[in-house]
């Protein structure tokens, strides 16, 4: 059930930075097979910042590994800069930077030694290294830390060093697998600002996996992935617009009866709890607001002022996932094939 916000079709796949169509990856286990990536299609144009966003175990890491050619695909096709993931791995390696999720920089080597090490791996000449390394250290804000052991860097600085190392051979495309995981908000912001600078100054194509829904706002295009499937794709604003209705927020003194009372009301699509607050998705704010207020009054539920708020990416995701689950449940009920729902029961990351 793919929601398509952008109807714009790309003429030729070779013009795309990254392309996948019908991409599927199945792992065999003792209990049977698990489809980690299920018929996934995406296109990333050059210069775009594409976010593949979804919870742990949704299939983000497998997708990136298959696209990079580190894992063989079970079905479908994928390519980077027109080079096939499985057949043209050498060409891909020359033009692509990658930060793995469990990216390990040699901890007993200094920042400078790490940079030289990765430059060496890429076969870079001494002259190129002398030009390129200081430039990258400056960009990553690590110029004053060249002599520090990588193991002694803070979490945020390690991520910046990893980024600098993956850019050493001037790739046209980078794939970053959860580069901000476990990093505090300040370092997260700094890392994304670096990505923004790369996009603006060099036109770098950036593909990022992240479980942080708020990072969607930093991307030009996103794909929401859940249980191996892309459940929505488009620009961040387009994804939010896929959720029907508008959100009214308020805090009742007791949320359980308020939730029960409002859930079935006319014009109410769904109610999500948000800490002590309730978020009510309605068709028409000006019409439903007084109706909800009246309903709460008759039940004797006290509350603060009802106010319209903007839908957040995380809410859009939850809403789209729930819709997906309802569709899957229906399909499961109708289908006699026990394998039909296996993707929905949880994938592999």
């Amino acid at each position: 059930m793919l929601e398509r916000a952008s109807v714009q079709e790309h003429a030729k796949s070779s013009e795309l930075a990254i392309s996948a169509s019908g991409l599927t990856k199945t792992f065999k286990t003792r209990r049977g097979s698990i489809t980690a990536v299920d018929d996934l299609s995406l296109q990333v144009s050059p210069g775009e910042t594409y976010g593949l966003i979804g919870p742990d175990g949704a299939g983000k890491t497998t997708t990136v590994r298959v696209i990079l050619g580190l894992l063989t695909r079970t079905a479908g096709e994928s390519s980077i800069l027109g080079f096939d993931s499985m057949n043209d791995t050498y060409e891909i390696r020359q033009r692509v930077g990658y930060i793995a999720q469990q990216n390990v920089l040699p901890a007993d080597m200094t920042v400078m030694e790490n940079m030289k090490f990765f430059a060496g791996i890429q076969g870079m000449s001494k002259q190129d290294q002398i030009r390129r390394i200081p430039e990258l250290l400056e960009f990553a804000g690590l110029s004053n830390f060249t002599g520090r052991l990588a193991g002694k860097l803070s979490g945020g600085m390690k991520k910046k060093l990893a980024l600098a190392c993956c850019l050493i051979h001037e790739p046209q495309v980078v794939l970053l697998d959860e580069p901000t995981l476990g990093v505090d908000p300040v370092s997260r912001r700094e890392f994304w600002n670096l990505l923004g600078n790369l996009r603006a100054e060099r036109g770098l194509t950036i593909f990022v996996n992240t479980p942080y829904m708020d990072e969607a706002e930093r991307c030009t295009q996103i794909g929401l992935i859940y249980a191996g499937r892309l459940i929505a794709r488009g620009a961040p604003a387009e994804i939010k617009a896929m959720v029907p209705g508008h959100v009214i927020e308020f805090t009742p003194t007791d949320s359980t009866p308020a939730l029960r009372r409002i859930s079935g009301m006319e014009g109410v699509f769904e109610v999500q709890t948000y800490g002590e607050r309730l978020h009510v998705f309605v068709d028409d704010v000006s019409r439903r607001k007084p109706e909800i207020e009246a309903a709460l009054a008759t039940e004797g539920i006290a509350h603060n002022e009802l106010r319209p708020v903007e839908i957040r990416m995380e809410e859009a995701f939850i809403s789209l996932v729930q819709r997906q689950n309802q569709i899957a449940a229906k399909a499961q009920a109708q289908s006699s094939n026990p394998l039909a729902w296996k993707a929905a029961s949880g994938g592999v990351s």
């Binding site: 919870p55 476990g182 100054e201 930093r218 709890t273 800490g275 002590e276």
Partner: protein
């Protein structure tokens, strides 16, 4: 904050708390109170002193100076009595993977000295709370992240503590489980339990009734999320929509570096650019002129309400900026 032992007496009292490790000051003269039944967010970058504060509050570490009280019990001198009434959950979900869900609850219950009948009751309650009905006898190692997390919370509150410390309880858990977890937090608060929670998710910080920002060991701001947004943001956030955001980004960055415009931050947000300036009114036109001069077509330049993350970063960076001056 009143000092009388009234109903509103603070559950957590921190007074001039300082902790030094050699020359390094991990916590620097921190004072704050958390009220009974309050959900309080304790936020800061890594290494800011969050966990050190919690360790001192739990009596696991002695402060260099200052003191702290939980439910009126001194953390340093009345530790044992205090442990009977507090719960603690860390991001590591300290559960035994080779025990079943029910066995984990019973194990923690026995550690806290619960009677057999109370154990039975709590086991049933916690299994239900964690949504584990029918999975009581599943090995904990095979539960998904969300279930493990709710089970870990259940084990942390098996002895019905009145104050609960949650140190990054939602790290690595999917958005739907995180949402459910916060519903549990508020269910506890409704029953009068005081919750102190740390998180790196700023959307969760928004859910707290009050938050404190700590950076470099110092408490730099403490208030409700909505008031922090009104009082703590240094400057205004402008959202700029243009035909070519990459080009506009380069122009704005150049203006920032040459100090032609006072821009604290220039950052790409998808198709938009966010800039932080001392005053939206004062510099909106200057930004417009700059972009027009570069031949960039402007769709809109609008003031937007800062997010809690904007405020947090502004608060955290302020001491650094002052240090440089």
């Amino acid at each position: 904050m009143s000092n009388s032992p009234s109903e509103n007496q603070a559950s957590i009292v921190v007074q001039g708390l300082t902790k030094k490790f050699g020359d390094f000051i991990a916590v620097d003269g921190v004072s704050f109170n958390v009220n009974a039944g309050e959900v309080f967010g304790w936020l800061g970058p890594n290494g800011a002193g969050k966990t050190t504060t919690i360790r001192i509050l739990l009596g696991l570490m002695t402060p260099t100076s200052g003191s702290s009280f939980v439910l009126g019990l001194n953390s340093a001198t009345q530790t044992k009595a205090m442990h009977a009434v507090v719960g603690y959950m860390s991001q590591l979900f300290t559960l035994y993977g080779d025990l079943t869900a029910a066995e984990n609850i019973r194990f923690y219950g026995m550690v806290y000295g619960l009677s057999n009948s109370e154990l039975k009751l709590r086991q049933a309650e916690i299994i239900h709370m964690a949504g584990l009905d029918g999975r009581e006898n599943v090995l904990t190692s095979s539960l998904s992240g969300g279930w493990k997390q709710r089970l870990a919370l259940g084990c942390a509150i098996v002895h019905r503590p009145k104050v609960v410390f949650l140190d990054e309880p939602t790290a690595g858990v999917d958005p739907i489980s995180r949402r459910e977890f916060w519903t549990l937090i508020y269910a506890m608060a409704k029953e009068g339990v005081t919750v102190l929670v740390t998180t790196h998710y700023m959307d969760e910080a928004e859910l707290c009734q009050r938050v404190g920002f700590i950076t470099q060991g110092r408490l730099v701001a403490i208030d409700t999320p909505s008031r922090l947004k009104q009082t703590q943001m240094r400057g205004d956030v402008l959202e700029i929509s243009v035909s070519n955001p990459d080009e506009a980004m380069r122009a704005l960055k150049a203006a920032q570096q040459s100090r032609r415009l006072p821009l604290d931050e220039v950052a790409l947000y998808g198709a938009q650019i966010h800039v932080v300036t001392p005053s939206a009114e004062e510099y909106k036109e200057a930004i417009r002129e700059l972009l027009n001069g570069e031949g960039i077509e402007i769709r809109s330049i609008e003031w937007i309400a800062p997010t809690l993350e904007d405020v947090f970063i502004s608060s955290v960076n302020a001491p650094r900026l002052r240090g440089q001056a």
